[in-house]
Amino acid sequence: MSLRRTSHLDTLLTALTWIGTFVMFAPIGWMILTSFKTEQDAVSYPPKLFFTPTLEHYQRIFENDFAAFLTVSVLVTLTSTAIVIVLAVPAAFALTVRPIPKWRDVLFFFISTKMMPIAAGIVPIYLVARAFDLLNTSTVLIIVYVSMNLPLAIWMIRSFMVEIPRDVFDAVEVDGAGRFREMTQIIVPLIKPGLASTALLCGIFAWNEFFLAVNLTTTVSTLPVFLQKFLSFGQLYTAQVAAVATLINVPVVAAGWLAQKSLTRGLTFGAVK
């Protein structure tokens, strides 16, 4: 009797969970669906669930300067992420494996920088970039994205290093010169999957970033700035917007799904696994 009621309750809860999941995914599903419609189908009343799909909008994406923005986005995301990893691994090493004095203060300093609003620093960043003639270049975006993602990467990589059993490196007698080898040949191979998720997460943040991109660059810029320009067209084309938005999100959604397992750890600075 009571078992039965529990299973009814379970069915109900499962159904509610699926409804919730549907609500979360529906806007994305609707966007993907719309991207394959003709402009007329996209604005038809009532909305069409079944229609003859078209690739027209995907073909038209490349008609304007999409490719230029895509190139900058890819360049900025890959370069900044690579630099972040190269800087973060030794830093995490010095804070975990061979901890320096006051390592905890340093760690908390890093996390606190991540909490400061970037708007409070944008004026000097802009003026310095202008002074060095870096406005409207991918270089300035790489520089700011590296510093934006570094604290997160250090915390995340540290959380993977902490999990390496202590005797792995207690066994290695280390002098100054041996450190570099210890880091590259023992530690890095052990945390490779962790490094990959860290890179994916940093990549997502760099790819999606808008505030710095829109303030520091205009024509040589990343895809969010390209998308913003759609607004100035006046008449917005629903299906065309959907196609661009879908295409742009494929890499980040794929990265997010791939990094799923370690995502929580990265987003909470390693506090939650």
Partner: protein, 310 residues
């Protein structure tokens, strides 16, 4: 080169000198990252503080001059600034509460055994990855649009007519869109928190005849408390800087109804070119962030200590 030289001289020098060299040698791997973060993220704040004490408008012909705290005093007489503070508080507060609530509910649903659970989880967290600008653009055209949006069709179908969501309820549209993305984030963290709940405790409670609701209320919720706090604080921090949704959906309007502090700094600096005022607003935003950061760091270090990881 210089480094290896100093190391060699260190070998021959006194033990004190030796220890000093070794200390710096140990810190060396940390330095590049520390220098980059200091220069790019901390130095600007100090410069902003200096600018914020100046009267400096790029459009005016007069040279920048030092006015001490006048920009700050003016800020509190500026109706738009006060509105921006109010908007920031209202939007951040409602987004945080709604995200934790919906994300938490969904996490509780997903923290059970059922077929297709992994798929459901994957689909439900996807909104978090979506580029905010892309999300805002599609929501504007495909969802909120009064004639072509799906939401207009739904409200029409249930008989309450069509709304021009963005102009009638601008703040609500920002809150809805941002909550959608951040509930996925809350879901991720709260689900992880629920999964770290020891199963033996739940089983023991069930054997003792505790109802599921009782177990959730009395055992799960206390266990989740630090996770809820962490989620709320992290969401607050990011949403405080909400920019893409505002820039795309409403441009901060109508009549500054959706302008938050970050957006107002942006308007002052890059539309009004008043760098002194923009810097002062930035400093005030920074003060709010610091007020959030202090409890946040306490929660994080609490979770670390509990897990024995710090």
């Amino acid at each position: 080169m210089a480094l290896s030289l100093s190391l060699q001289s260190g070998k021959r020098a006194s033990p004190v000198r030796n220890a000093l060299v070794k200390g710096w040698w140990d810190r060396l791997p940390l330095l590049p990252a520390l220098v980059v973060v200091l220069c790019v993220t901390q130095l600007p704040f100090i410069i902003t503080l200096y600018y914020s004490l100046q009267r400096w408008n790029l459009v005016s012909t007069s040279a920048p001059r030092f006015v001490w705290f006048r920009n700050f005093l003016n800020a509190f007489n500026d109706a738009v600034f006060l509105k921006a503070v109010f908007n920031t508080a209202v939007m951040t507060g409602s987004i945080v509460i709604a995200s934790v609530f919906f994300g938490g509910l969904l996490a509780a649903g997903l923290n059970r055994e059922f077929r297709g659970r992994t798929l459901a989880r994957t689909l439900a967290i996807t909104p978090f990855f979506i580029m905010p600008v892309a999300a805002a653009l599609f929501w504007k055209t495909g969802i909120f649009d009064p004639t072509f949006g799906i939401l207009g069709w739904i409200t029409d179908a249930v008989g309450i007519g069509r709304f021009n969501w963005i102009s009638q309820y601008p703040r609500l549209t920002i809150i809805l869109l941002t909550t959608w993305q951040w509930s996925a984030f809350a879901l991720l963290i709260l689900l992880a928190g629920m999964q770290s709940f020891p199963t033996e405790v739940a089983e023991a409670a069930a054997v003792d005849g505790a109802s599921r609701f009782y177990t959730f209320r009395r055992l799960m919720l206390p266990h989740l408390r630090p996770f809820i706090e962490l989620t709320a604080l992290l969401t607050a921090m990011y949403v405080l800087e909400n920019f893409a949704a505002i820039a795309i959906l409403t441009n901060g309007g109508p009549a500054y109804a959706t302008t938050n502090l970050s957006y107002y700094v942006y308007l002052e600096a890059f539309s009004a070119f008043d760098l002194g005022r923009a810097s002062a607003f930035g400093m005030i935003a920074l003060a709010f962030a610091i007020a959030l950061t202090v409890p946040m760091l306490r929660v994080v270090s609490g979770i670390f200590k509990e897990g024995g990881r710090a």
